[in-house]
């Protein structure tokens, strides 16, 4: 895997993010960054604060303190719309699909294509959906069915197409392969590689250490809301990563 160039400005930088819910510090003074063409894995137990941290970036939560920089410029992300305006797209673990609507309506939810008089243009949205699906999942056929009628993999492709269609520069994937079979997991892995080559930055939340080792360039490990450390995945073994997750201890530097 080619080395990521980290000499320039990071694509996105989260600095000293803290957020508490009713006295519990879900995220406590965490800083992570992400460069173009890089995949950064976020590791940690359930409740370690990975998803909460990332939701501060996607606009679902607002951090109590801390700063977010995109391309070196400070930005304020108060809601999902702000995040989208900065080309930050998120694929949630729950997929966040409206089950009663079809693929096109979900893909364009919140960003519908409208005709001259302001009515939603369903035909055009379906045509666009067919185009992007032809690229991401050529086997996808059920364009007129509500997404509740789709399989797990098909639902996942709807969620992914939504992120990819709008030219994301920063992509957040929350356990994208958790509910998928072997074949579909491989497809997601290929997609991540392709997006990486296009220069996107990807935050990947995952439990599977092996997968993080293969897909990611760096890994940031969290425990009890705090950042244990960020390491280059090539510098550490899977056991080192496990040690960070379970014991919260820094691996001894190899170099």
């Amino acid at each position: 895997m080619a080395k990521v160039d980290r000499s320039g400005t990071p694509l996105v930088e989260l600095r000293n993010i803290s957020i508490a819910f009713g006295g519990v510090h879900a995220v406590d003074d965490v800083s992570v960054d992400l460069y173009p063409g890089e995949v950064v894995g976020l590791l940690g137990h359930n409740g370690a604060g990975k998803s909460t941290l990332i939701k501060c970036l996607s606009g679902a939560y607002q951090a109590d303190s801390g700063e977010v920089f995109v391309d070196g410029k400070k930005v304020s992300i108060r809601n999902p719309r702000d995040a989208r305006d900065h080309n930050i797209e998120t694929i949630y673990q729950t997929l966040a699909l409206a089950d009663n609507l079809d693929a096109a309506s979900n893909l364009f939810l919140g960003r519908e294509i409208t005709s001259g008089i302001g009515l939603v243009d369903d035909a055009r949205m379906e045509a666009e959906t067919r185009k992007i699906m032809g690229r991401l999942n050529p086997n996808f056929r059920k364009f007129n069915a509500p997404v509740s009628a789709l399989s797990g993999g098909q639902r996942q492709s709807v969620a992914i197409s939504r992120a990819v269609y709008f030219n994301a520069r920063i992509l957040i994937m929350d356990e994208p392969t958790a509910a998928l079979g072997v074949e579909e997991t491989r497809m997601v892995a290929e997609l991540i590689d392709e997006l990486k080559r296009q220069g996107l930055g990807i935050f990947l939340i995952d439990h599977d250490i092996h997968q993080v080792k293969t897909l990611c360039d760096r890994a940031s490990v969290m425990k009890n809301g705090k950042l244990v450390g960020t390491v280059d995945v090539d510098d550490v073994t899977e056991d080192d990563l496990l040690g960070m997750i379970i014991l919260g201890k820094q691996p001894e530097k190899a170099a």
Binding site: S58, G59, A60, N79, P80, R81, R84, T90, Y92, T94, L95, A96, L97, A98, D99, N100, L101, S105, L109, G110, R111, E112, T114, G118, L119, V120, D122, A123, R124, E126, A127, P146, S148, A149
Partner: protein, 431 residues
């Protein structure tokens, strides 16, 4: 052996021909139920149920509930409920009654019967309805009080605000122009009814045509031409059949004579004239078209259904679900005001009990029309058909001579049964 094979093949062909029409099976089921109700009562009443006169009355009786039911679809789709619509209707009616009998003639000094009276009264009523609805929506969306509680409180509050506004009196007679919205007091007459019918048919055909063209432009599958033609023919005959029934209901000779007398003319011997399409029905049709467009073709409608299907997903997609709740209840309030125009104009005065129990009829109409209380699904046409089915049941039973308490027992059972059938249907189709 060959025989069964042939039948099976024919059945399959029949099914595919049917599928080619792409008519919603749920819609078909409801129309079927409606026709069955009509036919049964027509037999029981020895043909009195499907007379022009009864069809006319049935439609004008349905309008008020049907208008509100279209708004209730949005409310229920977003997983809320509105128990206050009947009371809100009463408050809007009271506001409008006071505006046209006191505010405009006395405070503004325009006197009785001024041409501006009705527009002013209706505008004031609509603003009141929207303001109250928006207030409900704010309590529900922003203060997160459950809709059930807010509107249960609203039921008590608005019913009695109406009483307070009118000091408990019956207010009437209402303005003459205003009364035109009530049904029998305002109809299009034969010529305009036919013009309306023809325009409606042309508009429907145009709609079919543009939908087809748009599909072809994007290279989607389209139905065969014959299916389009059959569909167009069915729609045309339904619209024109409805218009011809309504125009066939003739204005009584005595009344016609009086109309001629008022114009200073003598009625020619043997002159007859039909009522035609009531203006209130026209209002319902306009409301139905607008609400259908909102539901299917606007962002607002898309967000309403998305929020009903998955509120979290909608919020994560950047939809302001709180503001959406305000908008939904504001629309409901506006529709209550429009229904109040129709309902009070129909009885030519405002009374304290106007719209009593309408909340239950409106919810029942929406639910019979296939709106799921779990949220996320429902149609405007379904709610209107639901209202029509309920009204047909009720007036049919009244014609047969069933006492009112028994009517309610039947309607109650039909409501439960309809929801059960809907559950079975969903289970079979899997959606």
């Amino acid at each position: 052996m060959t025989d069964t094979k042939e039948t099976a093949a024919r059945a399959r062909k029949k099914q595919s021909a049917f599928a080619a029409l792409e008519i919603d099976t749920r819609l078909l089921g409801m129309i079927g139920a409606f026709i069955a109700v009509c036919l049964v009562f027509n037999i029981l009443t020895e043909g009195r149920f499907l007379t022009p006169r009864n069809v006319f009355n049935l439609t004008i009786q349905t309008v008020s509930v049907a208008i509100m039911a279209t708004g209730m679809v949005f409310v229920i789709v977003t997983r809320h409920i509105d128990l206050s619509v009947g009371a809100l209707l009463a408050t809007c009616s009271a506001v409008m009654a006071m505006t046209q009998t006191m505010v405009v003639p006395e405070w503004l000094g325009l006197g009785l019967g001024h041409p501006l009276t009705a527009p002013i009264a209706i505008a004031v009523g609509c603003v009141a309805g929207m303001a109250i609805g928006a207030f409900h929506g704010w309590l529900i969306g922003y203060l997160t009080i459950p809709a059930f509680i807010v509107t249960l409180g609203g039921l008590l509050v608005w019913r009695n605000v109406a009483w307070h506004l009118t000091s408990g009196q019956t207010i009437g007679p209402l303005d003459e122009t205003f009364q035109l919205f009530g049904g029998i007091n305002g109809t299009l007459g034969e010529t305009w009814s036919w013009i309306f019918g023809i325009v409606a048919v042309l508009a429907a055909w145009f709609g079919l045509f543009t939908a087809r063209r748009s599909k072809i432009r994007h290279e989607f599958k389209v139905k065969p031409i014959w299916a389009e033609l059959v569909l167009g023919g069915l729609i045309a005959s339904a619209i024109l059949g409805f218009v011809s029934l309504l125009t066939a209901y003739e204005i009584p000779t005595r009344r016609l004579e009086r109309i001629f007398e008022a114009a200073g003319q003598v009625m020619p011997e043997g002159h007859t004239q039909g009522y035609g399409v009531p203006i209130s029905v026209l209002v319902l049709i306009v409301v139905a078209i607008i609400m259908t467009i909102v539901a299917q073709r606007t962002r607002l409608g898309r967000y309403i259904f998305a929020t009903g299907g998955n509120p979290d997903a909608a919020a994560l997609a950047g939809i302001n679900t709180r503001m959406l709740t305000v908008k939904v209840f504001m629309i409901m309030g506006l529709l209550c005001a429009i229904s109040a125009v129709v309902a009070s104009a129909r009885q030519t005065f405002h009374s304290n009990d106007i719209g009593t129990l309408d909340e239950l009829r409106v919810i029942a109409a929406a639910v019979i029309g296939g709106t799921a209380l779990a949220g996320g699904s429902g149609t405007i046409y379904g709610a209107i058909l639901g209202a029509l089915i309920m009204q047909s049941l009720q007036s049919g039973m009244a014609m047969v001579g069933v006492d009112a308490p028994y009517q309610n027992i039947v309607v109650g059972m039909v409501l439960v049964l309809a929801v059960f059938v809907d559950i079975l249907y969903r289970r079979r189709t899997g959606d």
